[in-house]
Symmetry: C2
Subunit: 215 residues, 2 copies
Amino acid sequence: MRIGELSRRTGVPVPTIKYYVREGLLPAGELSSPNQASYDEGHERRLRLVRALLEVGGLSVAAIGDVLTAIDDKEQPVHKLLGTAARRMVPEYGDAAGQDDAEAVLAREKVARLIEARGWHVGPGNKAVGALEAALASLARVGHGSFAELLDDYAEAAEQVARVDLEYTARRVDREGLVEAVVVGTVVGDAMFAALRRMAQVDASSRIFAQELPE
Amino acid sequence: MRIGELSRRTGVPVPTIKYYVREGLLPAGELSSPNQASYDEGHERRLRLVRALLEVGGLSVAAIGDVLTAIDDKEQPVHKLLGTAARRMVPEYGDAAGQDDAEAVLAREKVARLIEARGWHVGPGNKAVGALEAALASLARVGHGSFAELLDDYAEAAEQVARVDLEYTARRVDREGLVEAVVVGTVVGDAMFAALRRMAQVDASSRIFAQELPE
DNA sequence: GCTATCTGATAGCGCCACTATCTATGATGG
DNA sequence: CCATCATAGATAGTGGCGCTATCAGATAGC
């Protein structure tokens, strides 16, 4: 198919597709003549993936580029690859936690204790660890440090979710499918859970307020 | 305190503080003379809240402005206020789901069935519902529609989290504290859970890969 | 041949979260 | 009292990002 049809099928404007190709998010079409290129279902699929990561996952174009480059690198062993993928999918909270004040220190301790208690095999270099520390430090700074008491309940729920996530990815057989499943699952899974949490919150609070305010 | 000290205490540059005041995120300092204003702990607290919503929550300045305006509006009844707060804290997936193709229709059905099965009291106008629909539609479009099979497990975990969220907010007595707790809990809670999920995933997959690749 | 479409390249746009600079004023310390 | 510093308020500018517009030259398909 030509670029116009690709655009029509996916709803992505032609100049935007070209932009993605320039940025390395999408391989160029195969040239049949100096100014004619043809695109296949692989391109379409990749393009939809890019849009999902952008719109649902909120990833930046640069981050998507990194993740996809890792996916396409046939050399890298799978577990390393999953690492890069995961690393680029966590937003940078680096400077947010990097204040290194009392709250940051306490947050690090709390996270270390949690990991210890859970027996999790996660190194301190993990970005998610930093993100969690940043979140806890931030809570303390805004005077909601006690929200951290819910940490264990959150962790419990997170373990449940991670379990089914892993079951899902375990179904994949081929390498590319596996990594893609991880990427999609991680990114879209976040959005899914956040939405479900909101819905469950609304439901729970409507039950409470319905009693108190029966108007 | 003067603006310089506020800046030092929070690590936010003076021009940025002024910018926030202009944008309505922060009330102006009390003028003691035409070019001297004093700020108190209330300002400091609010400023920290703004930074938390920006850095951890990833909210836009405009969204934060809306949420804070709602918090400060002493007229509005609490439940309406919680509504506005929640509405502005969900990113706009509107046009992402708005393709109205087969996937979108199926996603809507799935979500409706889930709400039905869970007995949740959530209207279809709820933004979280739209976000979930968008996520599911997106999954289907990238060929990972079967990820939606995990929906029920996700919902279960979300209910657990929402339960403890509600318990936390129920402790608040004063109006402002309540709303703030909801805002902080929602926004930072998302980040917290996402980080925990990553960590749990890493742990779970390390257990699997440790067996397969005992290097 | 004619029109619609294409490639590849370059430049520009709109938004956003700041940041820089300026003037006029006042605070502060020796 | 005066030099120095900080401040308020206003306006303009910056850098990054995700596109979007425009163009020249070439080709497709009728």
